[in-house]
């Protein structure tokens, strides 16, 4: 049973979604119970897998018992376990937020719960898979679910945003396939561990193809992660989505970052010979531009939700800066910051929606409107979330940024990186301070009857914020885990050995069995 635990994070949501479809849309209570039970099961599973991976072992699971590199392998290492745990946490809170309140999101359209579970299935699969084409398939699974979730609840604005989101992601999927096909054409394999061994051995005549494949994949992941200049779809999509969906989407940009770490860290990592770190110069430049664009966008945003979307972009940029350092220290800092920024951004999306509800007609637009009823609890939550995102002590954003600053010390580019990270922090601080003062301290006369305040609406964002505070309080063990995960990623040879087993040296296999080359 425990051997099969690795595949369960994919199977549990798939099974739950199918059961929900059988239960039918009318029995919403049963769907909710199934959804929450599945999220709970995923959380328990993720915790168990984190404990298992903490021992340092890379565990491979072969679907259908087809040995790698011929079959599809799922691979559990510390990075995958960390991402699974983060997904389970954010999903549980987002689902709780979507099913509670006076006008619960899941009652505003059909099939919310099955789509939510399929989204989780895609996310978990993307984090676990050790096969490049399978990564594409799980990307599609999570994207198809996200297309529907984004449009859930409907309305013209949401549909317009969905059209843009779907079209750009379909274009990116085409590029993904071209990149994968190029790499397969040169190496004859799709298994990531096998690719890591074969890419450095590529013939010099094929070098340009490998390079093109690697950079095409970088473009694809940059679209998913919303990196400059491919971030323009994100503010529209995330600000149009319902708050619980936007909170769940906070993890979707992280899938792009994760894929960069996995593909460009393992396959094109430091040990890839001629192709070592082929993407990193591009990534570094894009990361800096992303951070600046996100912060400037936040400063100019007209509503708190849109500002949160731009802050998501800025946090992705900061993350990518740390990833592009291509050192275990940088990657460890990036993973810590990734956990923090996902939690903080998700909380801020939920808070923005609650502020919008309470202000009634003015919504979360940054203009004076009706005074917010019972503002104290909401205000404190907003301050905590904002301070966390900006990176003020003692919140985890501060700890994370400190780690990134420390990891980027002593490089030629250090002054640039520090200036960007600290400067954009200041811009984000200005933007959020302005938003808070307009929303809370400038009640106008124009406001219609303000929306009623429900106390329970603050439970979900506080749960995320509490996790964030715990992340700061227990920064040392989390950072140790993140650093170990980063070192594990850098150790490509042992990863390859664990996945490919003791089969005779993979490179000894003919490039394409039997076929003329």
């Amino acid at each position: 049973m425990t051997a099969h635990a690795i595949v369960l994070p994919v199977l549990v949501p798939a099974l739950a979604a199918c059961l929900m479809l059988f239960a039918g849309e009318r029995r919403r209570g049963m769907q909710r119970a199934l959804g929450l039970a599945a999220c709970l099961a995923l959380a328990v599973l993720a915790a168990a897998l984190v404990v298992r991976s903490a021992s340092g072992a890379v565990t491979a699971y072969f679907l259908g018992d087809w040995a790698a590199p011929f079959g599809i392998a799922l691979v559990l290492d510390r990075l995958a376990a960390l991402m699974l745990a983060l997904t389970a946490l954010v999903a549980a809170v987002a689902l709780a937020a979507a099913t509670t309140g006076r006008d619960p999101l899941d009652a505003r359209g059909r099939y919310f719960h099955p789509l939510f579970q399929f989204q989780l299935m895609g996310l978990n699969g993307a984090f676990l898979t050790g096969d490049l084409f399978n990564l594409f398939v799980f990307f599609e699974v999570l994207l198809i679910a996200s297309y529907c979730l984004l449009a859930h609840g409907q309305g013209a604005a949401r549909l317009k945003a969905a059209v843009h989101f779907v079209v750009i992601n379909l274009a990116a999927s085409g590029l993904f396939l071209i990149g994968v096909a190029l790499l397969y054409a040169v190496t004859g394999t799709l298994n990531m561990a096998d690719l890591a061994l074969r890419v450095p051995a590529a013939a010099p005549a094929d070098a340009a193809l490998v390079r093109a494949g690697a950079l095409l994949l970088l473009v694809v992941f940059a679209v998913k992660a919303a990196a400059f200049p491919l971030y323009l779809w994100l503010p529209g999509a995330y600000s149009a989505a319902a708050a619980p969906v936007a909170a769940l989407f906070a993890i979707m940009t992280k899938v792009g970052v994760y894929s960069v770490v996995r593909v460009h860290g393992v396959i094109f990592g430091p040990g890839a010979g001629e192709f070592a770190l082929v993407a990193m110069p591009w990534l570094a430049a894009a990361a800096i531009a992303t951070t600046v664009a996100g912060a400037v966008g936040a400063l100019g945003a007209a509503s708190l939700t849109r500002m949160t979307a731009y802050l998501t972009i800025a946090s992705v940029g900061t993350l990518l800066i740390a990833v592009s350092l291509a050192s275990p220290a940088g990657l460890g800092a990036a993973l810590y910051y990734l956990v923090h920024s996902t939690l903080a951004v998700a909380a801020l999306f939920l808070l923005a929606a609650e502020i919008g509800t309470r202000r009634g007609a003015a919504g979360d637009r940054l203009q004076s409107g009706a005074a917010i009823p019972r503002p104290v609890g909401l205000g404190i939550a907003l301050v905590v979330a904002a301070a966390s995102i900006v990176g003020l002590p003692p919140f985890p954003g501060f700890v994370g940024k400190l780690m990134i600053l420390g990891a980027s010390w002593g490089l030629a580019a250090t002054p640039w990186l520090w200036a960007v990270i600290l400067g954009t922090g200041l811009l984000a601080l200005l933007a959020l301070a302005r938003a808070g003062s307009v929303l809370f301290w400038q009640p106008g006369e124009t406001g219609a009857a303000p929306g009623a305040a429900t106390r329970s609406a603050l439970a979900a964002p506080w749960a995320l914020l509490a996790c964030g505070i715990a992340l700061a309080a227990f920064a040392a063990p989390v950072k140790r885990f993140a650093d170990d995960a980063a070192r594990q990623i850098a150790d490509t040879p042992s990863y390859a050995t664990r996945v490919l087993g003791d089969a005779p040296g993979s490179t000894a296999r003919p490039l394409r069995p039997g076929g003329p080359r």
Binding site: F133, V137, E140, I144, Y147, C148, A151, Q154, G155, A156, L159, K160, A162, V163, H164, V166, V167, L170, A171, S173, G174, L177, I178, V180, A181, L182, Y184, A185, L190, R512, P513, G514, G515, P516, R517
Partner: protein, 110 residues
Amino acid sequence: MELLVASALGLVTACGVYLMLRGRTFSVVLGLSLIGYAVNFFIFVMGRLAVGVPPLVADGAAGYADPLPQALVLTAIVIGFGTTGYVLELALRTRDETGSDHVDGEEPPQ
């Protein structure tokens, strides 16, 4: 054959990109479909061009065609079919809701 295949791929992709950059959702969907065809064909070709050879083990075969890209293409076709269906439905629904088939949901200023 290489020249023919490569130029066909290039032509279809170019048409797809052109259509995808148009302003109306129907052209965009057509463009995405064309790009999808080109990509699927590209994957297939990445298993090398081979004529008259079996993809599976056979006695006395002179060579083999690579079966893996053929399997990958099947998956990609299925996924592409599903997403095209969804984007069509989404485009129709958006036209109903906004009264415009422009990708931005509103007619551009004249």
